[in-house]
Amino acid sequence: MKIVVDQSKCCGHARCNAFAPDLFELDDLGYVAVSEVEVPAGMEEAAQTGAGACPERAITIL
């Protein structure tokens, strides 16, 4: 499972990080700092929840 973030759509809500801080690292201003993340085994649910929290629909799970 892989997380793909469209960083151009990120507006700094930081909701992904609120639900899955280990998967969605933020920069100093609170915008998502990653564009692709391989989801470690056992963290699939956290990845889905974090992606599903984005108000901008900037995150997809492949």
């Binding site: 507006c11 809500h13 930081a14 100093d28 201003l29 609170g30 599903g52 108000p55 901008e56 629909r57």
Partner: protein, 400 residues
């Protein structure tokens, strides 16, 4: 009632003024938007004679906030398409907006809010110490308005004694803008005078506050102008005081009126996190507008340059196309992608601070006063402009 099915006949069907009447019961205004949303995804209307479109559903509201190509922030209330003021950064468009947000970001980023937390807790404890033994209070005046108000004064390096005057200005500008536009403009001029004096003083004697630091910034190599510093002060004042106070008030209104939800959060405080998100979704009172700068189409309707669009967050947030049981408050709701803080590059700069203030305000109140109820003898009133509660009468038993 709607022209969405008849885009050729552009007859106004709604009036902004009619949606902005002075007094009603709690949530009455939200229910107006619910009705309009289920009638059509867009309504054409007038706001003090100016043409505007009310957009009612989540998909179109979100897309419109994200569409910075055709939609501008140079005007943000439907009845004022050519405002004589410029709040910064709210009323800027990219790329200028982006530069300001980068400079302001460090004051409002999650890490900055972590550093502020002890101060937020201390301030809220002081407010609770003041009310806890009273057995009753008007939550709006005695708790909600005092909390963000004093944090704002602190961030701006202003004396707490001026907080009451700020509240008076705030009410005139935010809640009476449509019914008394001259008074609102007058209040804005007075605020401007206050900030002019503040900016001059901070230029002479810089401190650690946001105004002192902003006055040293350069944008595209140019020092920030006096006028832009004013615009920044105005925005921080407009955005920071009323919003958290009203969100706290609606949340407490809900928990007072729904004892079962209150019992659940008191027994399991971990539920405050999803409950706060649900209150943000359901009671999202901010109703921003935008100005159309390029002809476009929204929900199949021909939206023309020069017209305003009105994008009430609550209308998106209560859209049943987006949320199962959208009309119910479900305090442990999953996948709650509400737009209470907006969408697109103008996402509320203070959202992280606001969430922290809401968390502290609600958890600390319930730790000290877990059981309370609405005073049935006092009518609760809701105001228009920027929607909010005028009062929230709470009663509880004082121990000992």
């Amino acid at each position: 009632m709607t022209i969405a099915s008849d885009p050729a006949g552009l007859e106004p069907t709604i009036r902004y003024e009619d949606l902005d009447v002075p007094v009603s019961a709690p949530c009455a205004r939200f229910e107006e938007f619910d009705k309009l949303r289920e009638q059509a995804p867009a309504h054409f209307g007038t706001a003090l004679g100016n043409e505007f479109w009310l957009i009612t559903r989540m998909a179109e509201i979100r897309a419109t906030y994200q569409n910075t190509d055709a939609i501008s922030n140079r005007a943000v209330v439907p009845h004022q398409p050519d405002p004589p003021y410029k709040w910064i950064p709210e009323m800027l468009d990219p790329p200028e907006h982006t530069k300001w947000r980068k400079l302001l970001g460090p004051f409002f980023a999650p890490g900055a809010v972590d550093r502020l937390e002890p101060k937020l807790r201390q301030r809220f404890d002081e407010i609770m110490d003041d009310v806890v033994d009273r057995g009753r209070c008007d939550y709006v005046a005695d708790v909600a308005l005092r909390f963000p108000n004093t944090i704002f004064m602190e961030m701006m390096g202003l004396p707490i004694s001026d907080a009451d005057q700020f509240q008076v200005w705030q009410t005139a500008i935010l809640h009476k803008g449509a019914s008394a536009p001259e008074a609102a403009f007058q209040a804005m001029l007075e605020v401007n005078d206050y900030f002019a004096a503040l900016i001059a003083e901070r230029r002479r004697n810089p401190r650690e506050d946001i105004v002192s630091i902003a006055s040293t910034w350069r944008i595209d190599g140019e020092p920030v102008s006096e006028e832009d510093l004013h615009g920044l002060c105005l925005l921080l004042f407009m955005a920071g005081l009323d919003t958290v106070a009203m969100q706290l008030s609606y949340s407490m209104y809900h928990l007072a009126a729904n004892p079962e939800d209150r019992r659940r959060v008191v027994e399991d405080p971990a539920l405050f996190a999803p409950a706060i998100e649900e209150f943000l979704r359901y009671y999202a009172f901010v109703t921003p507008g935008r100005k159309v700068v390029k002809d476009t189409e929204i929900a199949g309707c021909p939206v023309k340059a020069g017209q305003m669009v009105w994008l009430p967050l609550v209308s998106a947030n209560r859209d049943p196309r987006e949320f199962p049981d959208a009309d119910k408050v479900i305090i442990d709701r999953k996948d709650n992608r509400h737009l209470a803080f907006g969408a697109g590059p103008h996402r509320c700069l203070g959202s992280h601070l606001a969430r922290r203030e809401l968390t502290i305000g609600l958890t600390e109140w319930h730790r000290r006063i877990p059981d309370y109820h609405l005073d049935p003898d006092v009518e609760i009133r809701e105001h228009g402009g920027q929607i909010g509660l005028d009062n929230l009468p709470l009663v509880w038993n004082v121990r000992g």
